[in-house]
């Protein structure tokens, strides 16, 4: 018994080394289970360049689509072809085939306007079977030059190649409009019985229960931004370095607004060109950038990897400001 163990100790290190080596070789050839490999074409950015035009504008009092749309008058649109996400489990999407992107900046803030067709407006996710409409922009982090030789995955980045994502959600916009800034379950079920609010003196009689709501709301207690009331924004600022790694940033910098009419979503996302957050993409007037995007159609139960994606990076140039 003892002899066997000491023999194991002697041989275990080279043995384990061989196991790890073969595992590494195997990993180099085969992508992770449930993930299919990508071809060179997808690592090559598209030819059409999005010009982020410099416009002089007074920041409107209300940051809504109506007030901001004038700024995009002279911006040249870029049409982006979207397709089903077919590389990582779960696959899905395919109901939105294209979107139009315009972008401007005023030397301080950058604005991206995305429009796409969606016959249904899904702006609530309270019932278990309901999913939101959403759109995300993705930027590679750090100064990068993306070519077919220098691989940078257009699908959420890769290990050591992180991305910054701006994720606009239709239900976050609806949350902004209600008291307490989070649509409550009564919005979905108006006549529901509620142990906490049916008694007009409940705050007095059930004080301990009421104050425990935060603690017993797992998502809120864990500071999950999706669960928090009063986010004050419609766009989530995130990072990812590959499938399944999406993580909310501690510091949220992006905001947005939207308008839905006649089966068309118009979403504007805006952020300061430069931020102090090292996890944010920095957009410099006169410089270049890359972006990619995805759209979720809540009516088709799109969420997570079930989405409509563009499979290539899109280059963008930021026009110099007048005083440069």
């Amino acid at each position: 018994m003892n002899k066997g163990f000491s023999l194991f100790k002697v041989f275990s290190i080279p043995l384990l080394g061989a196991v790890f080596l073969s595992a590494t070789l195997f990993a180099a050839e085969e992508p992770a289970p449930g993930v299919k490999g990508m071809n060179d074409e997808e690592f090559t950015p598209t030819k059409e360049v999005l010009e982020v035009k410099y416009v002089q504008m007074d920041k409107p009092y209300h940051m809504d689509v109506e007030s901001l749309k004038g700024a995009f008058n002279d911006a040249k649109p870029v049409n982006i072809t979207l397709q089903k996400q077919d590389k990582a489990f779960p696959n899905g999407g395919g109901s939105v085939t294209s979107a139009e992107v315009k972008a401007v900046h005023d030397g301080i803030t950058v604005y991206f306007q995305i429009t796409w067709k969606d016959p249904t407006r899904n702006a609530r996710t309270i019932a278990v079977q309901e999913f939101r409409d959403a759109v995300a922009l993705m930027f590679p982090l750090g100064a990068v030059e993306i070519t077919s030789a220098e691989h940078f995955s257009p699908r959420m980045g890769d290990r050591e190649k992180p991305t910054n994502l701006w994720h606009w959600k239709a239900d976050w916009e609806a949350d902004l409009l209600v008291k307490g800034e989070l649509e409550d379950v009564e919005a979905q079920y108006p006549n529901m019985h509620d142990d906490f609010n049916f008694n007009p003196y409940s705050a007095y009689y059930h004080r301990e229960l009421i104050t425990s709501v935060e603690v017993l709301s797992g998502g809120r207690a864990a500071n999950n931004l999706l669960s928090q009331p009063g986010r004050g924004r419609t766009v989530e600022d995130l990072n990812a370095e590959g499938f399944g790694t999406l993580t909310t940033q501690d510091h949220q910098d992006v905001n947005g607004c939207s308008h839905y009419e006649d089966g068309v979503w118009t979403v504007i996302m805006y952020r300061s060109l430069i931020t102090q957050d090292p996890h944010d993409v920095q957009l410099v007037p006169g410089g270049n950038a890359f972006f990619n995007m995805a759209i979720w159609n809540g009516g088709e139960q799109d969420r997570n990897g079930q989405k409509n994606i563009s499979t290539q990076w899109h280059p963008a140039t930021l026009e110099k400001v007048a005083w440069q």
Binding site: N91, R220, A222, S227
Partner: protein, 403 residues
């Protein structure tokens, strides 16, 4: 996909992750024969974990009636259809005590069905709508004349029913964990409890979709999903009542009918849970054909049709019922430990006593001995001592009718 061994199915099966068993596995045994559906377990859980806003539809523990009942409605019928398991075929001619104690399952698991159907996701599943979660026992105890097909459209069963007690099975190969695209669900190495990380969850509801037992639940208020946490603070011994000893969950320890025994599945043959499940094979997994290796085990009811029970608990049903009807000396002793203590019993010992009763059950001789069974805790200290015949205390006549 990798190949992992599932001993319930008696074979290897496809699963997205490698086989990685916990040091000891949270497990429980429910004796269906004794349940009266008083729902004390359900309320014990509710009042501990899901009394809050947005959790109105959540019953991490529930008791439903078979064949009509289902929470969410028809959950099992719908999932069985997805794996095309009308046949439920098993090869039972050869068995291996450890690797295939019930024989070999020849059908598809939820994982294999998804891969066969090229669904491009890890498991088959569906998301029950809010109305399916809303009324946990609706349509169950309805008189036959009032019965419509609104809640179930199974053929009429007029002469039998039984209760089934359900909570998260803390599966060895969880469907929810496989389904989560962000790995927000994890299985603890120390006790095999499966949890949803409330920080990482983004409310995609892939777990709600792909858990065949429908035990992860979406909470509209927080926009993320929640599930049974196996009362992990109690299991870790954090409750002051047991002075640091691992303690049974709320639903287990509240059981009025004494149908429940919770513990850990390990390699100790004198662990009552391990003995009843692996050695005696009295307690069986619920729908083993789903392929998740669930860890809540059931002593099947004596009176329900065997074909129905075989579909629900696999081919071990007949043997288990025979054993339950005429219990052996050791089995009777171990079954006396059900609900005798709140601290988790890790080992038992039997001290032999005199024969007190003898009869014939269905032509088989049954002898009862008044043995003493002792349960020991994790630290080896005695937790409980009981006899087969419960001691009778006769009240002093002077106290009759006095309060």
């Amino acid at each position: 996909m990798t190949l992992v061994h599932n001993w319930h199915l008696g074979r290897r099966m496809e699963y997205p992750y490698f086989e990685s068993r916990p040091k000891r596995q949270f497990a429980a045994i429910f004796n269906i024969n004794r349940c009266i559906a008083c729902q004390t377990c359900t309320m014990a859980c509710k009042s501990a974990w899901t009394y809050n806003k947005g959790q109105e539809h959540m019953w991490w523990n529930n008791v439903e009636t078979k064949p009509y009942g289902g929470y969410p409605q028809s959950w099992d019928v719908k999932t069985l259809k997805l794996i095309d398991n009308g046949e439920n075929t098993w090869y039972t001619d050869e068995k291996d005590e450890k690797l295939s104690p019930y024989g070999v399952y020849e059908g598809d698991t939820i994982f294999e069905a998804a891969s066969k159907k090229n669904l491009n996701q890890w498991a088959v599943g569906y998301i029950p709508e809010d109305k399916e979660w809303r009324s946990p026992n609706i349509g169950e105890d309805v008189a036959k004349s009032n019965k419509s097909d609104e809640y179930s459209s199974l053929p009429e069963h007029s002469r039998w029913f039984f209760y089934i007690q359900r909570l998260c099975n803390h599966c060895t190969y969880p469907g929810c964990l496989a389904a989560c695209p962000r790995k927000a669900i994890y299985k603890r190495k120390e006790d095999g409890i499966v949890l949803i990380d409330q920080k990482r969850c983004r409310g995609y509801r892939k777990c709600v979709e792909q858990c065949p037992y429908k035990k992860p639940m979406y909470r509209g208020l927080t926009r993320v999903s929640e599930k049974c946490i196996a009362c992990y603070p109690r299991v870790e011994g954090k409750d002051p009542l047991t002075k640091g000893r691992p303690m049974e969950t709320r639903c287990m320890s509240a059981c009025v009918g004494q149908i429940r025994l919770q513990g850990f599945l390990d390699d100790n043959p004198k662990n009552p849970v391990t003995w009843l499940i692996k050695h005696d094979k009295l307690a069986l997994p619920l729908y083993p054909q789903f392929g998740t290796e669930p860890n809540i085990y059931y002593i099947p009811p004596r009176w329900a049709p065997r074909s129905y029970l075989r579909q629900m608990f696999g081919p071990g049903v007949d043997e288990a019922i025979d054993k339950f009807m005429v219990p052996s000396r050791e089995r009777l002793a171990v079954m006396s430990l059900f609900r005798m203590a709140q601290a988790i019993i890790f080992e038992y010992k039997i001290e032999e006593g005199p024969k007190v009763f003898e009869t014939t059950i269905h032509g088989k001789k049954f002898e009862m001995y008044n043995d003493t069974v002792i349960g020991f805790g994790e630290d080896g200290q005695e937790i409980v001592r009981t006899t087969i015949e419960e001691p009778i205390h006769i009240r002093d006549p002077k106290h009759y009718n006095s309060i």
